[in-house]
Amino acid sequence: MSALLKSREAILALAIALLLVVIASRFPAFVTPGNLASVFTDTSPLILLALGQMVVILTKCIDLSVTANLALCGMIAALMNGAGVPLPLILLLVVALGAVLGAVNGLLVWKLDIPSIVVTLGTMTIYRGIIFLLTDGKWVNAHQMSEGFKAFPRAVFLGLPVMAWIAILGIVAFVLLVNRTPLGRAFYAVGGNPHAAVYTGISVGRTQFAAFVLSGALAGFVGYLWVARYAVAYVDIASGFELDVVAACVIGGIAIAGGAGSVAGCVMGALFLGIMKNALPVVGISPFWQMAISGAAILIAIAFNARGSGPKGRLILKTPEVRA
């Protein structure tokens, strides 16, 4: 029991439950299953991006270019739709393109050993710049998109929109990937002890590359979902959203130093932000509060994660003065 209470996931689940109780005490309509489902659907892109970001962070890297990747792939999806490319092919191509953009990050990190923060700060502006070069800054609006293109994420299947099902599928896939495949375990190994990983035959760079490709492919896919759902594509979509993605991971207890964290934590971190964002207008707080709140949440989460993991003294005495 005490072990359960000590786990970050349990504390986070408790925090989310508490948040819901507080909101429900004033606005019971917020916690109806229907509304919760729509909050989950709304949070789906964040969940998917956070899962991709999680594996990148596990390998001691960071991907700040995810949302630029998302915007570029989303725009290309919209342009392909305008050119009459069938939807399944569009989906395939945006995932591939996202993976390629992620691979560019990964290659620079792997082959040239450039710190990921520098690489992705750079590609972040480059990818967005490319959207401008492609479109001359013009928007693709709802009326320029086909109905099928826009309808797919919203189509309801077994009571939930496809978007939500995709998030659920993503979560299941990542649980299996991370816990049950050699690559998944390699993410933890590379981040936890890169030196040792080399000795067990795991290539640090190649694993980081794989993480970036995964993160990129997800960003590409979410790019389509985003553009289809909001029925608009332009240079600045999801601009700044990368901070929310990192925030979801940090709040979810993914150690920024790599090697530690879980899918459950990551998803709950995203849900925490999603609930917060959806609850603000309900409880009558201006949406302009959102940025500051997610900033504060990041800081609280880092402080919380660091608690106890700091440089404690070694336990040498048989009867220490204070129990550590």
Binding site: I62, L108, K111, L112, D113, I114, P115, I117, V118, V119, L121, G122, T123, M124, T125, I126, R128, G129, I130, F132, L133, G137, V235, L243, V246, A247, V250, I256, A257, S286, F288, W289, Q290, M291, A292, I293, S294, G295, A296, I298, L299, I302, A303, A306, G310, P311
Partner: protein
């Protein structure tokens, strides 16, 4: 001492400082700057006009002011991604005060004070509580600008007293704007601080090996805290200049500056992992970026393309030497 431990004399240096300087990254960068200057002067007849050049300096002066402090912070092994958000918050505080009727000295004081406070907050979290600077400043990046959004929403402050415009629009003498002169003064001050003082030496020691620096009697956390404080202060200075130049404050003010500041620092030869770099490198990098932006502007290249080029520069300056080394092997 007995005779047998009396060791041999080791020469102070094998290469003279001048010879070393000539082979440095900074020397190469200076060549690049000169080349761009010459290319620009051929490309456009308007380039060599002193007033045009002076106007162009606004492209980089505010960012460079932050870059000096950022360079020291990065050399010490930290980073501050919240600088642009500090600008937003400081500008918002000044705007609110201006609306309430504060006069120019109070506004400047508030701008710098907000910068210092934000820097102290970052410094406390990083140096005081030992949290990693990348995530802390990603957090405060949201928090500081988030506060501006709470205050301003989609509004803007546009009422500033008359004399306030001097910092961003005034000229000290002939074509030399206040910002350009301040940039030069800050370059000298930071150059001396990093290269000629005990504080600067400690900064390098921390960046190369913070643990060993601490085991050498250096007050590591105090120095890291001061560096965050300085970065906050410089962001406050930049906020004063930028707000004065634009004459208005929106919560989105200075968005993306952190990227350009970090690019300037890295382009200037500062190792992103800490331990090495110089202020003169950052000064040259500021000129290079300013000249490129100005030159492209003369050729009517849109702003977002320039940001692509800045992104490419950031990756390119680190990637090219590494590619070169790989290719030679």
């Amino acid at each position: 001492m007995t005779a047998h431990t009396q060791g041999r004399v080791i020469p102070d240096r094998l290469t003279s400082p001048l010879a070393r300087a000539l082979r440095s990254w900074e020397a190469l960068l200076l060549l690049v700057a000169v080349a761009i200057f010459i290319a620009n002067s051929f490309a456009s007849p308007y380039f060599l006009d002193p007033w045009n050049l002076s106007d162009a300096s606004f492209n980089f002066t505010e960012k460079a002011m932050i870059a000096f402090a950022m360079a020291m912070l990065i050399i010490a092994g930290d980073i501050d991604l919240s600088v642009a958000s500090i600008i937003a918050l400081a500008s918002t505080v000044m705007g609110a005060a201006a609306l309430a009727g504060a006069d120019v000295p109070v506004l400047v004081g508030l701008g710098l004070g907000t910068g210092l406070l934000c820097g102290a907050f970052n410094g406390l979290l990083v140096a005081g509580f030992g949290l990693p600077s990348i995530v802390v400043t990603i957090g405060t990046m949201s928090l500081f600008r988030g506060i501006s959004y709470i205050v301003l929403g989609d509004q803007a402050y546009t009422e500033y007293p008359k004399g306030f415009g001097y910092f961003g629009q005034g000229y000290v003498w002939w074509v030399f704007s206040f910002e350009l002169v301040l940039f030069a003064v800050m370059a000298v001050v930071f150059g001396l601080l990093l290269h000629k003082t005990n504080f600067g030496r400690a900064t390098y020691a921390i960046g190369n090996n913070a643990t060993a620096a601490r085991f050498s009697g250096i007050r590591v956390d105090r120095i890291r805290f001061i560096l965050f404080l300085l970065t906050g202060l410089c962001s406050g200075i930049a906020a004063v200049c930028l707000t004065s130049r634009l004459g208005s404050t929106r919560p989105s003010i200075g968005t993306g500056y952190e990227l350009e500041v970090v690019t300037m620092v890295v382009l200037g030869g500062v190792n992103i992992l800490g331990g090495s770099g110089s202020i003169h490198g950052v000064v040259i990098a500021a000129f290079v970026m300013g000249l490129v932006t100005f030159g492209l502007g003369l050729l009517n290249v849109p702003g977002i393309v320039m940001s692509i080029i800045i992104g490419l520069l950031l990756i390119g300056v680190i990637a090219l030497p590494r590619l070169w080394r790989m290719w030679r092997k």
